[in-house]
Amino acid sequence: MQNVYLLSVLLIPLLTAITILFLWGKVVAQKIVGAISSILYLFAAIMLFNQALTSGMAIENVGNWPIGFGIVLVVDQLSAIFLMLCAILSVVAFWYGSSFIESKASLSIFLPVYFFLLFGLSGAFMAGDIFNLYVWFEVMLVSSFVLFTIGASRSQLEASLKYVTINVVSSALFLIGIGILYGLTGTLNMAMLGKLLPELQNQTLATVGASFFLISFGIKAAIFPLFFWLPATYHTAPIGFTALVVALLTKVGIYSLIRFFTIIYPLQGTPIQPILLVLAAFTMVVGVFGAAAQTDFRRILSFHIVSQIGYMIMGIAIYTPLAIAGALFFVVHNVLVKTNLFFIAGLVGKLFGTYKLKELGGIMQKLPFVAILFAISAFSLTGIPPLTGFWGKYLLAKGGFETGNTLITIVTAVSLGVSLLTLFSMTKIWNEAFWKPFPNICGDLEPSTNFRSILKAYPGMLVSIFVLTAIILVISFFPNSSIEWCMSAAENIINRDMYINGILQHN
């Protein structure tokens, strides 16, 4: 039972989901079970994180077959960071969601599917086998399909149909990629693939195989020009349902890209590297322009995700330890900050009944604490120092400039320029929703709310926003250990032998 934490992280969500299914119809009991197990999950994840940091890797050889013939679940430092993030998010998203959702019917769907989603996420972050990763992806995706359609409003349904279709295509490409890799090497284990693929005679064919993964993961991660599903979908469903999806789905894509293009198919020096760099630049620019064009609180935020993804892709594509560490830190930063912004957007929408900037206003006057919370996250997103975004930006820029490569330098410069546009579009929200006086367009009066009444009506929502803001502030002002973890994870992942030998020589 040496991997008790790893197994807990994997199985607690499943167990919870099943328990909640058994308690079908008893919403209060379901909520209690969910609350307890999300805390347990967080605890297990913290312990697992600690274990991964101290002893390097936690490996569970499922089925006790020789390595490579069964399926291994691996938690290295990279996985540990993502799992930790996932755990923190899962707790706050659970509080937020169960406080946000008022209808009993919706809750009874939300709760089990939420934990199934968590199950898929945990699995995806610890899969040591490429097909296993596919399966976890599907668990995650189907859960997200369900979460996006709860409530079944017109726009939700419209968007989900596109979302489902594009994800089906992405999964198909993923499968084809797996097929090609299997057809070339005869194995599915990531470590073994990592060993065999670079030794393959026909490297062009290996690269072609890798390009399927690039596209498939690229769709998940919403990189240019594959991002369409994201801005079409994220703003449709109430954020209470989809917080976890919105926060982590694209990051699973990023995680897979990092995993695939370091361990299995090292990116350095391949033709994919420059392509990815260019795509990263386009992703940043197109995403931020998209955000600038929008006039809806949540849509601006959705488009921003695309833009921020570009930074992470850039980090991966630069492929130095510092840049990958920057990408990792950026993931951490972005997940926390973006989720918090969506949470605040959800709160604003709940209070004002609209997300359109035109119809919003005066929040600074009415609810200054919301404004402060928003400002912290928004300025962090735009990279105003010393908030988290700045550290990510700094690491990436330093990593980029250090290489001295012309293309990388240009892309890095673009990334700095994009942060100005990010600022521009965030101030758009700030100007319109917070500074501008309440417009009274619809004729109804300004909602009369204050801190206390909100706390009474939606305690979970407020608490989760406060907790996330606190975490953001802590990371902002004491970034040392987080940066250190990201650096160490990046070093480990770039030195592929460590991972590969660690698994292949596991007893």
């Binding site: 599907e138 399909f145 419209e158 084809i176 097929g179 299997y182």
Partner: protein, 117 residues
Amino acid sequence: MEIILSILTGLLFAAGLFLMLHKGMVKLILGIMMLSYATNLFIFIVARITRGLPAIIPRNQDVLANSFADPVSQALILTAIVIGFGIQAFAIVLIKRVYAATGTTNMDELNKTDNLE
């Protein structure tokens, strides 16, 4: 035979995409299904094929003899088929709901969530 099967697979891919690019929602689902056949066939063929030799150990033996179909790809396909079924079923029900909510089965009319205001 491999060449014929490869071309068939390519045809299925093309047909699947062709259907998905159409306007109708039903065709979209048909395309998704076609695409999943194509993907499954692709994996099946890419793991090299042998005729009529299932990966089942004969009654009187303990291990499989020299030539047999690749069981790994079959297991993968099985999993993929089942997962695909779940998603297809969901998608089929989804178009029903979309039609109930929007009154159209034309995909091109579903662009409200993307449009700028």
